[in-house]
Every structure is written in C-alpha cells, then in structure tokens.
C-alpha cells in the first residue's frame, strides 16, 4: 500500500514538473522543473524495482546531461529578449496542432494499456542482471552505441580544433 501511494505521489510530481517545464518562459526555470521531473522518474524506477536504472537516471540525466543544458543556457545568456520570444511561442495557435495530434496518441496508448493484463512489476532488477543483459544478448547494441558516441567525440574534436586553428 505504501509503495502504491509513493508511486502515485512521485508520478504526480513528475507530471506537474514536466508541465511546468513546458510552460515556463524562462529557460532556467524550465530546466529546474525538468530536473525535478527526472528525479521523480528516478523515484518511480526505484519503486517499481529497478534501482540501477534509478541511479543512472540521477547520475547521468539529472547530474550530467542537464548540467550541460544549464551550461549552454549560461553561455547563450538569453536574458529578457529570450523570455519574450519564448512567451510568443507559447501561444495556442503554435502548440494546439501538435497537442491535438499527441492527444490522439495518448488515447491510443491508454486503450492499449487497458487491454494489458499481468503483474505490474517483475521483481527487483539488480545491477548485475542489467550488466549481464547488456554484455550478453544486447552486446551488439552496446557496441553500436559506443560507435555512435565515438563519432560524436571525433566530430566535436574536429570542430573544436578548426576553431582553435582559426584563432591561432
């Protein structure tokens, strides 16, 4: 019972934080709500028995990727004009189209989920199980992801190096 209450509480926090993240005009405020939303999702992962995924959600998404987002916002230094532009983009005629289409998808999702029966959780998935799965049946996916990351690394090195050469 306690778990169910905690689950719905964390879900509510995640939903509210995500909605606020979308509707804030100030980019930094939006990012803070997004971080809260990610932390709430981590709590949900922990409750449904995936502690390793929960930890990675905090370390990687909330702790590293979002830091880089904030970093970029700091470098851009949008200020008041950025807020004004963002407010202009938040008018109904801009978001009503995508929202209507997503609503159709949401309806479909809810219908599909109502037809599924089975246990809500398959028990606790330990870090070891995740590791065995990643380097067992899914090793190809891991290798492909590492190649993708390597390509990103080489690409950013190339771009950064060109900028350095121009300066020097």
């Amino acid at each position: 019972m306690l778990e169910v209450t905690l689950f719905y509480l964390a879900s509510a926090v995640a939903l509210v934080a995500t909605i606020l993240a979308m509707t804030r005009a100030n980019a930094i405020h939006a990012l803070i709500y997004l971080i809260v939303s990610l932390l709430a999702v981590a709590v949900i992962f922990f409750i449904i028995g995936a502690p390793f995924a929960a930890a990675l959600e905090i370390v990687i998404y909330a702790g590293a990727i979002m830091v880089l987002f904030v970093f970029v916002i700091m470098m851009l230094n949008l200020g008041e004009e950025g807020d004004a532009r963002e407010r202009q983009w938040l008018q109904p005629r801009i978001w009503s189209g995508p929202a209507a289409l997503s609503l159709v998808l949401l309806g479909e999702l809810l219908y599909l989920m109502s037809t599924i029966t089975g246990p809500a959780s398959i028990g606790v998935v330990s870090a070891k199980t995740v590791g065995m799965a990643l380097f067992g049946p899914y090793v190809l996916a891991v290798e492909l992801a590492s190649m993708l990351l390597l390509a990103g690394l080489v690409g950013s090195y190339h771009l950064g190096r060109r900028a350095l050469e121009r300066e020097g």
Binding site: N26, I28, H29, I32, I35, P51, F52, A54, A55, L56, I58, V59, A62, G63, A64, V67, L68, V70, F71, I73, M74, M75, N77, S126, A127
Partner: protein, 324 residues
C-alpha cells in the same frame, strides 16, 4: 514495531553535520595557521574556539539581501541544493556495523548521484546572481565538476570489481583482510584528486578564485545564504572523507591486530579525522593551478590512469578466477 533507528541516526547526522562543519571552519584555519607559521583565529576562548560562535552570530545577524538584478527564485534556491544533496549523501555511509540509514544495493551510485546534483548549487548560484564574476565562476565549476565526475565514477569501478557490489556494507566487508588502499592505490589517487575538484576546495577552488573572480559564484551572496554555501562545502569535505575511509581504508574496521582496542565507530571517526586533516594539509601546501592546467590534468593524466587501473584490475581478477 516501528524502527526508530534510522530516523534517530538521520537526526544525529543533521545535527552532527552542521556542528562538525562549524567546528571545521575554526579547526581548518587553526591548522592552516600552524602549517603556514602564523596564528589563525586564537583570540576568543581557549585556543580561539569561541571564533565558531562569533562567526555564527555574525552570519545570522547580517542583512539577508537579494540583489534587485538577480533571479530571485533561483538565487534563493541555489544555496539549499548543495546542503540537501550533501546531507542526502550521508544516508548510505556505514558508520559502524548496522549503523547506517539505508543499505541499498546501489549505495555507491547513490553517493555519486548526490555529489553530481550538488553541482547545480554552484551553477545556478552563479547564473542567478546576474554578475559577470559569478557567471564566470559558475561556468568554470560546471566544466570542472562534470569533467572530474567522470574520473570519480571510473576510479571507483576497481573497488566495485574487487568487492563485486555497489553496496557500501559489502565493500567494507570485502576489505576484511586487505584494505583497498593497497590494491587500488591508483583508484585512491584519482578519487582523492577528483574529490577535491568536486568539493571545489583549494587547490581546485577555481570557481571562487578570489584573486581573479572576487569570490566567483557566491560574489553576490551574504549572510545565511553565504553560510549555506560554506556549510555545503564543509559537508562535502566530510562526505568525501567518509567515502574515502569506507571505500579504501576499511571503513569501520580497525587494523586487524589492534581492532578490538576501540569500538568500530571510533575507528571510523579517527580515520575520517585523518583524511580531513590531509585535505587541509593539501590546501596549505599546494598552490592553485591555472584553469587550463586543471582541465588538462584531468583529461590527459587522470583519465588514462583510471582506464589503466580499470583494465589491469579486470585482467588480474579474470586471471585469478582462471587460476582457481
């Protein structure tokens, strides 16, 4: 029957953490004075310990001011983030057998997550102040802490491999015969350096380097908000020291021959005090590097060391497994 143990321990950590941070401000300055051949705070009370109370009264009575050009909500939120994150980090530290708030099987990852969340405090504080120096400090801290987080996580993977668990209780238990500071000496070295960079203390306090950035990210902060930043920094120092002891120096276990002389909690305390004093010694002895030196030290020295450590540890473990 409801188990009150963890709640009492949480309260003890809350009170002990704040009191410890307050005493550390005095202890650190006295020790620095001793090592740098000067006095340090020595006027109020015996050995100047009254300085702690004097500082607290001063900070409490200061005008709690928010600059009109700052982003008010974020400006007030920023100093709390570091204190909350560091306090949460203590939840997984095993102080003595059974004396731990939660023993989760992802304890180590939880600690890494909490230290990575502490970055926001510096980052958002620098950004919300709307001040050039604060912004520069925030930018520096972001790249410094994100970079050093990588080595911090990787340097611990050797320990995880050798103990076969992320749970801190299991890691302490795995050091029954030999502490990991011998077999994982490279990991320890990198973790100590990354720990200083993460808690942005001298010599790696570039986010607040006062001779170039006035005070960096907390330039606009005063009174209790400034005190919160300092509290967070000292909590971070204590947390990192606790983790070093837990991961590399056998946690609450004393050296095998004389372990029964003192209770486990006392052993843990003695070791943590040693590590904290070592950090103060580093502060007294090493000058602050340039910013680009810090970054290239990280990526060109620390990262290769951790990767070598990782490969060698893994190789030896596999070889030992084959041999059995």
């Amino acid at each position: 029957m409801f188990d009150w143990g963890p709640i009492l321990l949480a309260l003890a950590i809350l009170v002990g953490g704040v009191a410890g941070a307050a005493v550390l401000t005095w202890w650190e300055r006295r020790l620095l004075g001793f090592w740098q051949d000067r006095h340090g705070p020595n006027r109020i009370g015996p050995w100047g310990i009254g300085q702690v109370a004097a500082d607290m009264i001063k900070l409490l009575l200061k005008d709690d001011w928010v600059p009109p050009f700052a982003d008010r909500m974020v400006f007030i939120f920023a100093p709390t983030a570091i204190v909350v994150a560091m306090m949460m980090g203590f939840a997984v530290v095993p102080f003595a057998p059974g004396m731990q708030i939660i023993d989760v099987n992802i304890g180590l990852l939880f600690f890494l997550g909490m230290t990575s969340l502490a970055v926001y405090s510096v980052l958002l504080g620098g950004l919300a102040s709307n001040n050039k120096y604060a912004l520069l400090g925030g930018l520096r801290s972001a790249s410094q802490m994100v970079s050093y987080e990588v080595f911090m996580g990787l340097s611990l993977m050797g320990v995880v491999m050798m103990s076969g668990s992320f749970s801190l209780v299991d890691i302490v238990a795995a050091q029954r015969d030999v502490w990991f500071c011998f077999s994982q000496a490279l990991g320890l070295l990198v973790f100590v350096v990354a720990g200083i960079a993460e808690s942005h203390r001298l010599p790696f306090d570039l986010p607040e380097a006062e001779h170039e950035l006035t005070a960096g990210f907390h330039t606009e902060y005063g009174g209790m908000k400034f005190a919160m930043f300092m509290l967070g920094e000292y909590l971070g120092l204590m947390l990192i020291s606790c983790m070093i002891v837990t991961l590399f120096f056998g946690g609450w276990m004393g050296p095998a021959a004389i372990a029964h002389w003192l209770p486990p909690l006392v052993w843990f305390g003695i070791k943590v005090c040693f590590v904290i004093n070592f950090f103060v010694l580093l502060r007294a002895a090493i000058p602050r590097p340039r910013y680009d030196q810090l970054m290239s030290l990280g990526w060109k020295v620390m990262l290769p060391i951790t990767l070598v450590n990782l490969v060698v540890t893994g190789g030896i473990l596999l070889w030992l497994e084959e041999a059995v």
